[in-house]
Amino acid sequence: MSTPHGDRPRRSRRVMSVLRVSLLTLAAVVLVVWTVFPFFWILLTSLKQPLDVIAAPPKLVFEPTLDNYAGIFIGRQRGSYASARPDFPLFFLNSIIISGGAVLLSFLAGIPASFALARYRFRFKEQLAFLFMSFRFAPFIAFLIPLYILFQRTGLYNTYHGLIFAYQIIALPFTIWMLRSFFMEIPTEVEEAAKIDGCSWWGVMTRVILPLSLPGIAVTVILGFMFCWNAFNYPLMLAGRQTFPVTVGAIQFISYEQVLWGQMAAASLVAVLPQLILSLFVQKYIVRGLTMGAIR
């Protein structure tokens, strides 16, 4: 471009770059506010008295209270706020039991299966892999309706093992695809070298493959647990009051008579706390997990 380098273009270029930087900064600020504000607001709401929650205009300055947390954890309520209290500690424990059980089960079945899908050639291999993948995309209602009917008939309704089985539909396909992508990263030469050194098949698996893929397995365990923790649809219809996980527990604060905003806010924060903490450990792998290993 043969523009003469006079004063005018240089000044306009400087104006342009100032404009550019301020626009970018503005966009970044908007992005931060957009992402963080809901967390900030739910935290404030969880520290408010009932009257402060519904105050108009909304209060930024108020006398904070831990009543809502006391309410959801030990059931201590104050005055007119008392109502049917959800058993939140139980819900939290339920989430851990069901998600943990589902992850454990899907690992026992998923480790050998994902290894086979990563390493061996056999008939229907790709078809099987895609059958598992299709569970990631299938609408849950297609499983929920028949499972509901079956569970009602067989007495699995409102039981831990029933729910753990339902959570498999989330955990197992994820485990298989994620682990497969990790196993595929281990070079086959490692295995062959171990075999030449006289390792049996079992020895290769336990002494070479598993230790090498331990980080991948840890990531898959954590992410699988988190996906199960997020599940809402299956427990909504398949669990009862004794087996509700936190996701279903949190909406129990909304009833026909009233909405316990403060307690709901406290419960929501407690429900996502494990997610926020666990995310820190698997930061780099979250997108990989969400795409079932499609993106490294």
Partner: protein, 287 residues
């Protein structure tokens, strides 16, 4: 033999998952009402034949498709913008990226509840208060037909924009340098670089993000359930929600399952088309 043996436990679980599904397909061909077992009859395609004449069905299909189109368009185009922003030279880039992870692993129900608090329809709602600052009247976020659809879209976007952004950011970081060097030599403008280099190179990533978003938007449920339960006046009643409604509000299990099958077919058509498209784009980009 060995691979089949290794697959065995997973295959057993797979059978356990496919069996209820097949049972459900069978139910979709029956008139199964939970409270009236004596009405149970095999009626062939009866449930499916009733659908086209049912305005509720027609609306739920329209809403499902329209919502998916709008949501994916909004989220992917905003996602491209956010990815470019995070890829550019900007202060606190690391913090911004880490921050984007926060909504990513939230349970969608909890996301919806968080926004529900902010979307209170009275002047006590913080969003209405903020709108008041710029002179806009209180919006009945989840209580009026048009606003409710937008509200669901906002909540869904908050939860899933980071997913799109981070996939595309990963894509941007993997792009080769050479085309950009050539563009600088040729004196291309920033817009030209974006239009003729970045976006074409990013195509496989855009398609992948779009695929995941289309699939998840077609069957969005948690957010709608926690905010509007399909209302007001059935405005946000998509196929998934309507299937749930048939089964667990009207206990019409047969019809609910038939709706589920329609949604399933829709999802599979979409996945088939998109997967082919993605493979072609990925092959072209030698991914």
């Amino acid at each position: 033999m060995l691979p089949y043996l290794l697959m065995l436990p997973a295959l057993l679980l797979l059978v356990g998952m496919i069996y209820p599904f097949c049972l459900g397909v069978y139910y979709s061909l029956t008139s199964y009402f939970l409270q009236y077992p004596h009405l149970f009859r095999f009626i062939g395609l009866g449930n499916y034949l009733k659908m086209p004449g049912d305005p509720l069905f027609v609306y739920s299909v329209q809403f499902t498709l329209a919502y998916t189109a709008v949501a994916v368009l909004v989220q992917v185009s905003l996602g491209i913008g956010v990815a470019l922003l995070l890829h550019g030279r900007i202060i606190g880039r690391g913090v911004l990226r880490a921050m984007m992870l926060m909504p990513l692993m939230m349970p969608p129900v909890i996301t919806a509840l968080m926004w529900k608090v902010m979307m209170a329809s009275t002047k006590a709602g913080i969003l209405n208060h903020l709108l008041g600052w710029v002179g806009l009247g209180p919006v009945n976020w989840l209580g009026s037909v048009n606003a409710a659809m937008v509200s669901v879209l906002i909540i869904d976007t908050w939860g899933n924009l980071p997913f799109v952004s981070l996939i595309l950011l990963g894509g941007l970081q993997s792009l080769p340098y050479e085309p950009y060097e050539a563009a600088v030599v040729d004196g291309a403008s920033g817009w030209d670089v974006l239009r003729y280099i970045t976006l074409p190179l990013l195509k496989p990533f855009i398609i992948l993000a779009t695929t995941f978003r289309i699939m998840d938007s077609l069957r969005i449920f948690d957010v709608i359930y926690a905010t509007t339960v399909g209302g007001p006046a059935d405005a946000t009643m998509n196929l998934h929600m309507r299937a749930f409604w048939h089964a667990f509000q009207w206990y019409s299990m047969g019809m609910g399952m038939a709706y589920a099958m329609v949604l399933l077919v829709l999802v599979f058509i979409a996945s088939y088309v998109l997967m082919r498209y993605w493979r072609r784009a990925a092959a072209q980009a030698e991914l």
